[in-house]
Symmetry: C2
């Protein structure tokens, strides 16, 4: 752990720097796979599945029988836990529903804004050691509430050609319309171009490794939208003497176990709290199954002492953390003034893992400083807003002159004509 005391503001940028990743060496591979799948469709998908996942099989769409087997295999207590989490995620995303916003800007000029669902969305769920069924909830629940017609889920098969039953269970529960056993770059390429087995979608959501991240970036060059650019997960916590060192340590460690590149930062106005947390981390770390991973992330972590809450806040806003936990005597100050953060966790009994699983907020959040310019996934992520306007004869008479003058000043005569013709016709009739 790196302890830093009272860093000057001009050193913040270097202290808070995230590890930069070069994607150039990956880009070639990603482009090659995209080109192959655009050209050869399912044939190319099968080839890369064999190559990367070490398995080959005929039907890549998950069958009803497979889903039924997954449902039967899952322990009851896990089903109950998923049900509770799903209910909370539903509750929180349903209250985000908005109604049409309408206003008569001037007499006779009615304007309104409505959100309508993105019709076809694709959800990517990584495979590997941790089967992220919680991410299925976080993406499929709002997609369903938004009213997306087609909800496609892609996840890589294991060596036996199966997807983890908890992922299948959650996908089925949340109304995913099609589950495809395909992972990595080939999944993103498949949803970008469409193949016989994989539907083409309009927007792709979900986490993934570096390959998936680069593939999602490339997908945007082919007309597909993505939820947000991804980076390693990160947590910044601010804690003073009102915090509980053991709790603080447990939160920092729960972030650290994600990956060796996870970012863990503690900001504190108390040196003794910093020391106590450091000790707690060492003892809690010992018993973790993912100790090897967490240890590396913790080695790169930073404990930063600052003199007061104002300085802490400025530093935190400069960083823009994905997850931001606040445990201080002054929580409202942070909550009211935080400008850049993905999700904020307030108080001693609000661990980050609550938001990861079951509080109801979404865990798909902007990392890598993107909290400065991107929202986390929310209901609106699955919709687009459209505007409407309906102008009466009276209305065009009210704004027509202004349009004519502005169009002429911009040198767009035909724009002006469209109004002039209408005004003349109204005048002639009257």
């Amino acid at each position: 752990m790196n302890k830093i005391y009272n860093p000057t503001a001009d050193s913040w940028a270097s202290i808070l720097e995230r590890p930069t990743k070069t994607v150039n060496d990956i880009e070639g591979t990603v482009k090659e796979i995209f080109a192959a799948i655009q050209k050869d469709g399912d044939l190319a998908v099968a080839k890369y599945t064999t190559q990367f996942d070490g398995v080959s099989f005929e039907n890549i769409e998950v069958t009803t029988a497979e889903i039924e087997a997954a449902i039967a295999s899952l322990p009851a207590d896990l089903k109950d836990a998923i049900a509770l989490a799903k209910a909370n995620v539903e509750t929180f995303h349903k209250v985000q529903q908005t109604t049409r916003v309408s206003v008569e800007t001037v007499e006779g000029v009615q304007c309104w804004q409505e959100k309508r669902p993105i019709q076809k969305v694709g959800l990517y769920i990584p495979g590997g050691t941790a089967p992220l069924f919680s991410t299925v909830l976080m993406l499929a629940v709002p997609a369903k509430i938004a009213g997306c017609k087609e909800i496609v889920l892609c996840s890589p098969p294991d060596k036996q050609g199966n997807i983890n039953p908890a992922i299948l269970y959650a996908a089925n529960l949340c109304g995913v319309t099609k589950i495809i056993k395909v992972g990595g770059i080939q999944a993103i390429a498949g949803m970008t171009f469409g193949t016989n087995s994989i539907p083409k979608v309009y927007k792709i959501f979900g986490p993934g490794n570096q390959y998936v991240t680069v593939a999602k970036q490339l997908a945007t060059q082919f007309g597909v939208a993505i939820d947000m650019p991804a980076g390693p997960s990160e947590l910044l916590m601010v804690a003073d003497d009102t915090a509980v060192p053991a709790f603080v340590a447990s939160d920092l460690l729960s972030q650290a176990e994600h990956g060796t590149d996870s970012q863990v930062i503690l900001v504190s106005t108390s040196k003794s709290m910093m020391d106590a947390v450091e000790n707690e981390i060492q003892s809690q770390l010992e018993v973790l199954p993912r100790k090897a991973i967490a240890e590396k992330a913790i080695a790169n972590s930073k404990l930063i002492f600052v003199e007061n809450d104002e300085i802490a806040l400025d530093l935190i806003n400069e960083y823009g953390p994905e997850h931001f936990i606040v445990c201080t005597a002054n929580n409202d100050f942070y909550v009211d003034n935080i400008e850049n953060a993905g999700s904020v966790f307030i108080g001693n009994y609000t661990p980050e893992s609550a938001g990861d699983y079951a509080s109801g907020t979404n865990h798909t959040l902007p990392t890598n400083g993107y909290a400065k310019n991107y929202s986390g996934v929310n209901l609106d992520s699955f919709m687009k807003s459209m505007t409407f306007q309906k102008i009466s004869e009276k209305g065009i008479q009210n704004i027509g002159k202004a349009i004519e003058i502005m169009a002429e000043a911009e040198g767009l005569q035909a724009h002006k004509n469209a109004v002039t013709l209408r005004l003349a016709e109204i005048k002639k009739r009257k």
Copy 2:
């Protein structure tokens, strides 16, 4: 004009195909300029301004004296027109303001969502023949309402080193905090990296030519967000015998004058309306100052006859027009069922130019089929939504068990520990 009668659904994709542009040849230039400006800052900016705009000068920030001169030079009727347009854009974007959305998902678990402004935004306004001061209103007004702290505007200088006074006037009126005389790739690169003269921003908005479009795409690889990918402007109009041929023709032409690559499509259930519109276009075209441009766009335009409104709607949703004008006996059917469109104009007295200038809706809209997955610029474009959660002892007791089970099933023991520790501490105390 290409008249197409009753096209079969399997031919829609090719009929509705937009001209594809290859950006590969531009990409090299854009990357080179980005690298130079990242390295040499203002020095490189000056070099490219000389090269591309044919002008060089010391101070690239617009001064108060220049703004005052612009204010003095602008005709009163244009100022009045801008004032009216600004008021309507303000009215429409102010009603889009939302309050915090809050819910207790289960007892003791309070979750809420708040939108906070993106602190630093950059607005790009093209130069050239048409000084798009209307776009200044469309971007700066919502940025101001959102509460963005820094609103930077870049626009290329003319041969005398000036920006069009109407652009300066509108920028000053709308609260732009800094106006910089820089255009094209160098403007986008400048706002991406920041230079001594050009502030680094978090999100870049605004239209531009192919170079600007590719530069904005590249900017996203350096952590900057953009409003949306751009493409040539387009209009699809559906009209039956209740429409006025002269009005329809004037709307199609106002789209056509934007550029030779503008997309203009008329869908109709009336063959006689199609013929009448064709004649009207010919006669109105003759007197247009931008006839040469409009003529080329019109030559590529399509008039498509279909049997009924249902088929028309399917075809329109497949296309996803940026601008969609509806003039039929059945307007509500289209308005209620349109799934993909940027902005919708309803009835005989609602020309597209109303939305371009003064109705109040935003004219920065998704083109190129992006209406399927992107919103047009709106108030939320200048904000990001953040989530918050505050859990009480009771709350963590209510959801703790579910978190423990899910975290364990995902193999994330430290996530589980963060809850277990808290539950144990509560139990011990009680």
